[in-house]
Amino acid sequence: MRSSFLFLLLMLSVGISQKSQAQEKALSPENDLCIKCHTHQTFTFQNTLTKKEDKRMMNPLYILDKDHFASGVHAKFKCTDCHSADYTTYPHNAELKLEPLSTCLDCHGGDEKYAAYQFEKIDEEFQKSVHYQKSGESFTCSKCHNQHYYQAKSRTSYVVDDIISFSNEMCMSCHSNNTKFQLLSDTLKPALAQIHAWLPNQELHFKNVRCIECHTQVVDSLSVSHNILPKEKALKNCVECHSKNSMLEASLYKYKNLQSRSQEGKLNSIISNKSYVIGAYQNDWLNRISIIIFLLALTGICIHVVLRIIKK
């Protein structure tokens, strides 16, 4: 018993150390100098005026979460792949902040390697969205997709809950944070709980489906729809999801459905990874059995009625 416990502990510690090694490996070694300061609360520099070494607080917005970055899609990038090469001089030139950063399409547009992601189509859909319509070019991809930490969850995660929370956190990063919300708007963020007061089991819906389920126009060719609709056009009809041909099959469960068809049995993926959606879950076998039982009961009653009439 004791030895098996020790073995388990050993395996766990090996697993943990392997994981942190993997994360360390994932980051480009050329970033070491940047990370040295930009993962800490403070930084020091040689003050040219006082001729002394100065220690200052780091702007919280410039502090990077290293582990988080290592699990993101751009983990292997050098910082200077996107930021100016002039940042290699320290202290940095203050004017560097003004340089325009690359947009997603600058790298991903027209790239064969990323054809499956359809960045151009995403851009086309995004330009129809309420975000673009209201804020124009200043609503950049990075407002939702943080380049440092972004993960292609809806394509890679096996856990639907993960896909949901990752997606909703993107919306909430502005819609539950007035400071960020007011970067693009002069008003305060909308009161989400009140606006969604009509939604039965609000908390359950917020936890088990993505905001975009109701707030986007589903496009079959895209993994995640990017045409965020104005609130008047958001879905408000329960049966669009709560029915046999649930819209969720084409949105939230789309990737899972494609995956399950090619890899595992459909039943397995359904029972292990789906939340129960009233009306959307109709098991053909249970339906058939219930119809048979129902018909048998009715037939029995009909025969009995006939016999009662005949033998009266």
Binding site: S243, I271, S272, Q282, I293, A297, I301
Partner: protein
Amino acid sequence: MTSENKIYFYPIWLRIWHGVNALGILILIFTGINMQFSSPKFELMNFELAVNLHNIAGIIISFNYLFFFFGNMLTNNHKYYRLKLKGLMKRLNLQIGYYTSGMFKHEQPPFPLSEKRKFNPMQKVSYLVAMYFFVPGLIITGLALLFPELIIEKVYSVSGIFMTAIFHASLGFLVSIFLIVHLYVASIGKHPLKNYKSMINGYHDLSGH
């Protein structure tokens, strides 16, 4: 409490419980079917309204069940539900024989009702199953679905809510089958409406069964 051929079988509290239960279960079945088979093309009733009605009727039925449960405990009514297992199959066979053949030959029922016997063996078994298994099962799973945060998230790899909902829908279906058979069997008697009247005025007429 008898008057000539009549027995006062169904006291007022029992009739109130039965009436509320009947109405509640009809609403639950109708709204339940509406939710289970909802579709944008075909809606018997607005989905949101169906959900709300189902929740309200479910809560009323749950309290009503407590009324039945304690009513039974505190009065003599519970004795009619007592089941002797010894010879049960034989008694059930006799009753089934009566329903499937004997009654057409105008034979006397094998278990005539009296003040001591309110239910024949088939009634006893089906009422016991319905009232002490199906309905409590539906109430427990229904309340769990009303407060889903109480449900265990995963049972092995299966979603707890999924399991609960499947049980709830299956039991609901079985209760609806019970209801159909119950309504039909109630029409067996000297006059098809006799038993329905009994559930209103409380008296069971012993002349003819």
